[in-house]
Symmetry: C2
């Protein structure tokens, strides 16, 4: 008896589900490596991850997968599938095409190159020696351009890379968004610097034991609505959120014993990511749609919580008392002082340490450089110089070494071009969502002032989270706000918040 | 060009290594489930483990594997292989035969039955209702007998089950070993009960916070020579040791806040297992030989450390000061009192709470019942009654409910027949190894008295650990001690230790 479309669809869904089981194992193995796996076991662990990753790749690109995609994509069949299977098919096919279009030997060469490049980068950063990293980066850029040849592109070569992280977004759009944001931000930063105002940090230079910071972090997450029955908090060198499965969305944070603010921000940031993952519809379990819509939309959730909630005056009205329970020394500090300390704006060299205002300028520099490299209007050799120029132009500071300049981020060594813009897109989307939230729940910041955070979470669940990856970023933004991506709301928000903080006109 | 024997061997080793990479993932997934994975994620996690386990099973029994085994086992080929590949082949073939001899549909039925039985057992134990569990246990026993039919057996049907945990051991041997041990132990227990002596536990009923117990446990492990660069300690409901890879041998323990002795014993016990795993020769990495020789030999290491070292007077001379650093209240307790409190012997109902002397009697009861069930000389329906009889006969106590009687252990619900004897074999082997250790390092207990534990570890590394699973239990015992398994040394040890403790003639 011939297989029906339903039979094919069931088999296909089962196949995908199994593939995701391997990914669950891989994600747990990485989580474990980053949260406390014994050092000596790392090498063998990496080998084991390699085997599982190869299995996933083999499943993604197998003749079996090809058959599923061909049969189920046929006109007359595709239309009969349920919407989740249709969306799964689209998502899986995208990955299939991306992987199968690269000749196997070239893909292998790329994997070898980037894994070498990562350790060379580490060494180069350590010794502040760009010349060491340069030949590797040149090869990576050349290979990225070669791969774009296989993948194809429309308009700008960089579009293909952007699309891998932010489906549908183009250079043309992004230039139109980033342009005005850059101009406004440069002006705002200059005004803040010129104001001469800096928060009083005398009371923030104490000793804050880890175990108390951990207890505080747990409470901040609980208050946000994070569900510990479906997640956990651990300590790590670089905070991250990882989803092991739909009911296991983990958060990590970092405790600096001499600055309590760091763990607070990291925890609330990663908590924002986790709320997204905990809010995806369970109907999407077992599909690649059971996660955020894109890197940018994901980042909008973390940055909304970190910056727009977690660095707001209202949040500190309800949460300073919480901090004081663990650290009574903050009895001496007023809400206003705490709020100001959480919003210290100052141009600096390192992206990951940058504040809410200057951060986007760090991103734009990387975006402009990546775009130029991929379009071959900039040579790798000229990167360090152009980096310094742009830092001076946008931020008014300049690294005295490439270690704190062009070598500071790991991303390029792993071939991750097109990723950086997501961070700023997150800020832009967040401001748009916030604007809409204020329209629909006008007293939401009053709720925050009272320490009530659950209606906000429910709104995000309802409007954004539950759809997972069934919608594109563009579709989500339009569905939630009624318009396309627009940086105006971020600019407005920054002025609304920082003008009074820094006594600007 | 035809493949050479070396080509085949290389391919085979690569194939096995990959299979073990999947097992590394599975082991980590279980470890995570038992040490803190969020509750709601457990169901999806189990599904993912199922997929990976099925993959391992498929690899173990694949036509590809069959071809490797056939080609490399050929006379003229096998002899040309290096010893590690030969031993790997033997080990893998054993597993292959065990799995392939069962018809696929029967194996599947068995998996379904045992997974149902485990939850029924839980319910039956909870409600003390053996009748609930009885039909499941009857089916499991029947299937075990059916499987023995497929596997074949020599002498006694139970031999085939024993061999799965303790390769080469037979019922005939075991009866000869357990017989005198039972007789001597029953007498010794009776004499201890008759002595009327019980340790003074007044000073052991305090409050011992978890974090201090954790710090103490870490120190006990470090003192044993446990390498934290290749392992870690976590908290769990039921302590266990698990090996993620050769350089990642993890230990868990349980902290009872009202009894400090529990975590001490568990930690030292699991630490003994971990020292074995950390001592296997790195030459065996990537093979199934990179672990202990058998369940029994593994248990000999944990019980040697837990009982023969960790409950010795000499150990407490050096380690009571360590305990006092964390719990100053033990300043009031003398070494002698602490030593006695660690060696409280008293017949009781529950195996896992039993002391060093009575423990083996719990095992023998289970062994005798299993043997009778498999040889069909005992019906499942009669189990509870026979259980009570034997408890009364050997230990002089009797459960008032099946919950603390025949239903107390999970093992049978999972089909684990043949496993229980390993625990007592561990005690027997441990006493034999200890006897040999005393001959070769006569002052080893003096070293323990001074808190020096590393020469003992090095001796075990050299004599036992490094061989991993390349030798059978019988080969190891003969190689280390010059004779076969012999319970005399355990009997001698028990008298040597407990006669003076309980003022016996």
């Amino acid at each position: 008896m011939a297989k029906t479309a339903t039979d094919w669809a069931t088999e296909f869904r089962e196949y995908v589900r199994k593939m995701l089981h391997f990914e669950e194992a891989i994600n747990l193995m990485y989580w474990d490596l980053r949260t406390g796996a014994p050092k000596m076991g790392v090498e063998l662990r990496s080998e084991a991850i390699g085997t599982l990753a190869a299995e996933v790749f083999a499943m993604q690109t197998s003749p079996q997968m090809e058959e599923y995609l061909n049969v189920l994509s046929e006109p007359g069949t595709f239309e009969t599938l349920d919407p989740v299977t249709q969306a799964t098919l689209r998502e899986v096919k995208k990955e299939f095409d991306r992987n199968r279009k690269i000749p196997a030997d070239r893909f292998k060469a790329y994997v070898v190159l980037t894994s070498q490049a990562e350790s060379v980068w580490e060494e180069a950063k350590h010794t502040a020696d760009f010349a060491l990293f340069r030949p590797y980066l040149e090869k990576i850029v050349a290979m990225k351009i070669e791969f774009i040849g296989y993948w194809g592109y429309e308009g700008n070569k960089y579009n293909t890379l952007l699309d891998q992280y932010e489906p549908g977004l183009t250079v043309e759009q992004l230039d139109g968004i980033f342009g005005p944001l850059r101009e406004e931000t440069v002006k705002l930063v200059q005004a803040i610097v010129d104001s001469g105002i800096r928060p009083d940090l005398r009371h923030f230079r104490g000793h804050y034991p880890k175990d108390k910071q951990r207890a505080l972090s747990l409470e901040l997450l609980r208050n946000m609505g994070y569900d510990f029955a479906a997640g956990r908090l651990d300590e790590t060198e670089h905070p991250f959120q990882t989803t092991i499965n739909r009911y296991d969305a983990r958060v990590t944070t970092k405790f600096l014993e001499d600055d309590v603010r760091s763990a607070i921000s990291s925890t609330v940031h990663e908590g924002g990511h986790a709320l997204y993952e905990q809010g995806v519809s369970p109907d999407l379990i077992g599909t690649p749609l059971c996660t955020g819509a894109s890197m940018g939309i994901h980042e909008s959730q973390s940055r909304f919580y970190e910056n727009m909630i977690g660095r707001s005056r209202e949040y500190w009205e309800s949460h300073l008392p919480v901090v004081r329970r663990f650290f009574p020394e903050f009895e001496e500090v007023s809400v206003d002082e705490f709020y100001r300390a959480m919003n210290d704006v100052s141009p600096s060299l390192i992206r990951i340490e940058a504040d809410e205002v200057t951060y986007n300028l760090h991103i734009m520099i990387r975006y402009e450089l990546e775009k130029a490299l991929i379009n071959e209007t900039l040579r790798v050799a000229d990167l360090p110089g152009v980096w310094r120029e742009k830092m001076r132009e946008y931020l008014g500071v300049e690294p005295d070494s490439d270690a704190t300049g062009v070598l500071q981020d790991v991303h390029w060594s792993g071939g991750d071009f097109g990723y950086f813009p997501s961070y700023s897109l997150g800020n832009i989307y967040a401001a748009q969502f916030r604007h809409q939230l204020a329209k629909e729940i006008p007293d939401y910041m009053e709720q925050v002032r009272r320490g009530e955070m659950l209606e906000i979470k429910r709104w995000l669940n309802e409007k954004i989270h539950r759809f997972g990856k069934t919608l594109t970023p563009g579709e989500i933004v339009r569905q939630v706000t009624g318009e396309d991506i627009n940086a105006k709301y971020l600019i407005d928000y920054l002025h609304e918040k920082f003008d009074p903080l820094y006594h600007l006109a």
